[in-house]
Structure formats: C-alpha cells, structure tokens
Symmetry: C2
Subunit: 361 residues, 2 copies
C-alpha cells in the first residue's frame, strides 16, 4: 500500500468559515482567509486542503461554508460534485457545520468514516499526514472519536492541547486522550513542551458519522435530532438551522467524550500551522532574506529591514530601517504593524467598523 | 512704516531646483518638493515662498528653475509677469542660478537689491522676516553681501552655520560675518548652541546684483563675465549656459567674501525649516495626536503608534504598534520607515534606479 492510495469509505469534511480578522486587510468578511493563496503556492488554502486530501478520498468531500461563500468555494473546486458544497444559512460554529455533514453522510454511506479538516490550515509532510489518517480511520472504525495530535514545535499559548493517555493495543502509536486542555498560560505551555505528553489540537477529528451524532446526542439530544431531521428532509434546512446552538465541536462532543473514555489520539509528526495571524504567515512564506515577500519580489525594496511584505496592489513598496515589520498592501487598504503586534489586528478591524468603514472589513 | 509695506527696488530671487530625494516618494525628479503642499497649508512650498515675499516685492520676482519645471512653476504662480520665470537649460547649482538672476537685474534696475530665497523652505513669523529683510536691504545698499542668520533651535548637524563677528555701526543687530562653517560634528553643534555666537545659514543672501557679480568676478572672472554676457544677449543662454561650472553660491562667493570682510549677517528670530527629510516634515504638519497626518485624517487608523502618515492614494492606512514610524502612500509607491532613518532615503532612490525603476524616482 502506498501513501497515495485511497482509504475506502473515508470522507473529508471541510468546514470553511471564519472571516480571519487577524489577517486583515488580506482577509475580509466577504473574501475570507481560506479563499486566499497565503503561502505563495499558487493555490488557495482551501484548494491546498483539497489537494492534500484528494489522494485519500477522491471526490468524497463535504465542504460546509457560509451561503455568501458557496459560489466562490465551488468555483475554486470545480471538479467536485455539485452536492459536495453545503451552504449554511447562517454561521453556527463548528459543531453544527461538522454535525450537518455527519448527518448527511450517515444516510449516504453506512460504512463511512469522516475526518474534519479546517479549510484554512497549512500542513506539510503529506506522507506522514496520510499515515496518521490511515491509523486514525482504523481506530475510528472501532467506534471511537479520534483526533490527530500534532507534535508541538514551540510553547504556543494560542492553541489547545491534548494530553496523551494510555496506549491503545493494536494501533501503532494511538492512545487514549486523557483530556483536552484549553489554551494554556506560557509557563504551562513550556512544561507541556518539556514533558512531551501533550500535543496540539488541530481540530482534526476522525469518526464514524453515526458515532459522532450519538456522542452529541448524549450531551445535546435535541441538537443531534435536529441535524438528523435536516439530513432526512434537506428542504427543511432553512427552517431548522436557526434553531441550532452555536458551539464548538470541542466543547459539544470532544471534551465530554474524552471524559467518558471514548476519544483516542494518533500522534503525528507532520507540520501544521493555523495561519492565525500575519506573524504566523511570515513564517510560512518561503524565501531566504530577512524580509519575506508574499507576492512579486520585484515590488519590494527592503533596506536594513526584516519581516513580511505583501505587495498586493501592484505598487512599489520601500521599507527602510525597520525590524520585524509587517506591511500588507491591498488596493483599498494598507496595514503597517509588527510581527509581535499582529495578533491585535482585531482592534484595527473594530476601529474601522466604528468609523463606518465596514466596506473595508 | 508697517511690516507689510513694500521695500523699493527690492527683488526676490527664487532658485527652484533639487529633486528632494529625501522626501521620496512625495517628491520626484519630475515633481520636486517645491511644487508640493507639504504642510497641509493648501499652498505649495513655492507658492508659500511667493506669498511670504509678495508684500515686500509686489511682482518683482525672478524664479530660476529647470526647463522641465518652468511650466509647472508658471502655472502655480499665474499672476507673475511672464518673464519672471527663467528656465535653466541644465542644472548648474546655486551660483549659476542666482548669478543669472543678478546679471538680469543688474541691467533691468540699477537700484535693485536682490534677496535669494529657496523655493522649498518653510518660514514662520512673517513680521520678523520682514523686519530682518528691511535691515538686510539697508546694509546691502552699502555694497555688502548680507545673509540672514537664523537663531538655531537645536544642535543640527545638517545645516551650515554663520559665526557672528563685530557689530556693524548704524544697523540694528547687524554684524560682520567672522566665517561660514560647514555642517559641524554633533559636539561642535552643541557648543555653537551654547555660546550663541553661531547662526544657521539658510542660504538667504541679500545683495546688490552688481556687487554679487563683482564678488564672483574676484574669484571666478570668467563665470561672472559669462553671466553678464547671457544677460546682454539672452538668446545665447542655451549656448553659454553649459560652459558654467556647477558650484554653490556659498563656496563661489560667500566664503571668500567673508574672508575678505565683505559679508554681513542680520540675526533674525523667525522660524525656519528646510523640510530636508520626512523627519523634518513630521515636525511641520499641524496636529495634536502622536501621529501627524499630512492629508485626510479619515484615511488613517493609528493604534498605539506615533510618527507621520501621508495618505496620498485615497486608501485606508492602518498603523498598529509602531513608534516614530513614517508611512508615505502615493498612487504608485509606498514608503515605510522611521523618523530616525528618514535621512537615508537616498539609498532607496538609488536602489530603485539600480532596479531600473527610474519611473518612480
């Protein structure tokens, strides 16, 4: 078996949502992060997510996205079947999006195992990614909720962590999840990195659709029932969707299921980045010099400078004497900040809204 | 006599040259600094220079500028007589420009006293400016070369200085010039500020045209003769102009004349700024907040920032978490630097030329 061989009945579920405020002005409410090529690879993050999974699932995709973005998503993935793109009437967080896909797949393929993959993350090391998924699918067939545990590379305080528990017999490397841990304080994150018992939670859950819905039903029976009702009568989507609660899949299912001993983790060694802010982006853009350029190098003149420059309007950008600077140039808005302050970008977006410039947010 | 009364036979000579490289990308070779409104006053620096002098000289102006800018200069000063704008066939530094005006005025008005005033400096305190000029003209009528000595407000290492010598009897405050001093080292500039015997040399020379040419002839006889030849036969300008040396009036006349005891200084207390770089500009733009905006305030969102922002393309500019930053936005080029590094802007312009982008310089 090669790493590129399909995994039978394995489905990729891709929730494609979120405005990506912390990547303003590249990312906007009407053109969110996942629709952009943010690494200079020539493919959007959504397309790269597709390309990474297609060898394993062929066209077994369910992309759940906002109604406003359904057309753009379909245009970026023209080879998918028309019913692969599901439009949410309104944003209802990850449990509703992934749960709807589960309810649809439960009816469509009784042998299905689904994996959820954010549309706007960057992953490197495709062979290891495929290996970990094969293991995860095998564990999931034993009716567990399985998550991929990413090897931390620095003591991040921005990610959730998974505490690895007892090994699972018969599954190379897989283990029970002792618990999920919310974003930790800095000293806690340092300790996690030192002991090696904690992994980043990248939100990649592998599970049989019916198992996911049953786990949800144990905590939120009406939520699960409504999802199954929609799948049975898709024309009721607009009517029933607004009644669903906005809750993340981690809180709705993963944490209670872990407490009940139903969650497994497959430790994996692929590279992962959630492209959470421009600081993260600066680390992803390839290049050798102190200033990384996302776009046309010929449009940047950097002297005694380091950081990230995104020449997105065709204009020449000269940067002189600034370290770790971030310059993002778009046709209607320009951002100048530092890598360290980049995670406060939401303040800029809020200030623009307060100033009545929602056209730019 | 009011300060706004004309000074009979007093002529304003305005050399309007220099690309203003250190104000890139606002200032370009084809649209130099003096054509811009760089203080938000609604008038270009050239127009402000005119407005400041017009009460004293009416329409007795000679503006000497590059052939490429003659049309723009005339368009900005539509009320001047057509012959007030003299086009140099090529750049030949300040001695040729001011000397040509002197040669023309020597023939036109035997009683003329001329004053030279750069087209791209900012002056505040018009009453004191007029008072100092009246004194300077009176001294100049005694066949001296007179310079205005500006009271230094900080120990600049970017300006030349005038050492004030023995007082001149009969002229309130005027004195001989002991010597002109080139841009000093920092500790020397500190000492100048402490002793009070040194004044900034703003390049404002007041002199009878024939006296200036005779002083020039004492050092460079052929130079003076050629200027007088051109004035006598203006159709020979294109032929003779290229034979003139490129030399600053300070070196050609002022320094040797000072050594010969022929130069006087009128100490003056008006505010003066040569708008030499964007750091200087940041100090000139009015405003109260830590970020000065030259242009439309509504186009700038500054959070935890200080410095200067020039929104010159209509786009929104967001600056987050940077102190003493300089952002200059124009339709085809963007500059991001700091106030401290702004004087190195020539490096950027050189880099652009090296990259073949002379269209932006």
């Amino acid at each position: 078996m090669t790493t590129s061989e399909q995994i039978p009945h394995f489905w990729a579920v891709v929730p494609a949502g979120g405005a990506g405020t912390r990547l303003w002005p590249l990312s906007r409410a009407d053109h969110p992060k996942f629709l952009h090529d943010l690494t200079g690879a020539g493919r959007s993050l959504l397309q790269a997510t597709h390309d990474r999974l297609a060898p394993l699932v062929a066209d077994r995709f369910v992309v759940v996205t906002g109604a406003a973005h359904a057309r753009a998503v379909a245009a970026q993935l023209p080879h998918l079947p028309a019913d692969a793109v599901v439009a949410e009437p309104a944003a209802r967080d990850s449990m509703a999006a992934i749960g709807l896909a589960a309810a649809l797949l439960e009816r469509r393929d009784p042998d299905a195992v689904m994996g959820s993959f954010a549309a706007d993350h960057v992953i490197t090391g495709e062979a290891e990614f495929a290996r970990a998924l094969r293991t995860a699918v095998a564990v999931a067939r034993e009716d567990r909720l399985v998550t991929l545990g990413i090897a931390p590379t620095f003591p991040s305080t921005a990610f959730g962590y998974i505490e690895v528990g007892a090994p699972l017999a018969g599954h190379d490397g897989a283990a029970e999840v002792a618990q999920f841990v919310e974003k930790p304080a800095a000293e806690v994150a340092e300790a996690y990195l030192a002991t090696g018992r904690h992994r980043w939670n990248g939100g990649m859950f592998v599970v049989r659709p019916g198992v996911l819905l049953d786990l949800l039903a144990a905590e939120h029976p009406e939520f699960a029932a409504t999802l199954r009702r929609i799948a049975a009568a898709p024309d009721r989507l607009a009517e029933l969707w607004p009644t669903l609660p906005s809750i993340a899949i981690d809180h709705a299912v993963a944490e209670p299921a872990a407490a009940a001993g139903r969650v497994a983790v497959v430790p994996a060694a692929f590279g992962w980045d959630d492209v959470g802010d421009v600081d993260s982006l600066a680390g992803l853009v390839p290049g050798a010099g102190p200033v990384r350029v996302l776009g046309d190098d010929a449009l940047v003149q950097a002297l005694d400078a380091s950081g990230l420059v995104v020449p997105g309007s065709g204009r020449m950008i000269a940067v002189l004497g600034l370290d770790d600077v971030v310059v993002v140039d778009t046709p209607d808005a320009l951002l100048v900040t530092t890598r360290a302050r980049a995670q406060e970008l939401k303040r800029v977006v809020t200030a623009l809204k307060d100033a009545g410039r929602t056209d730019l947010t």
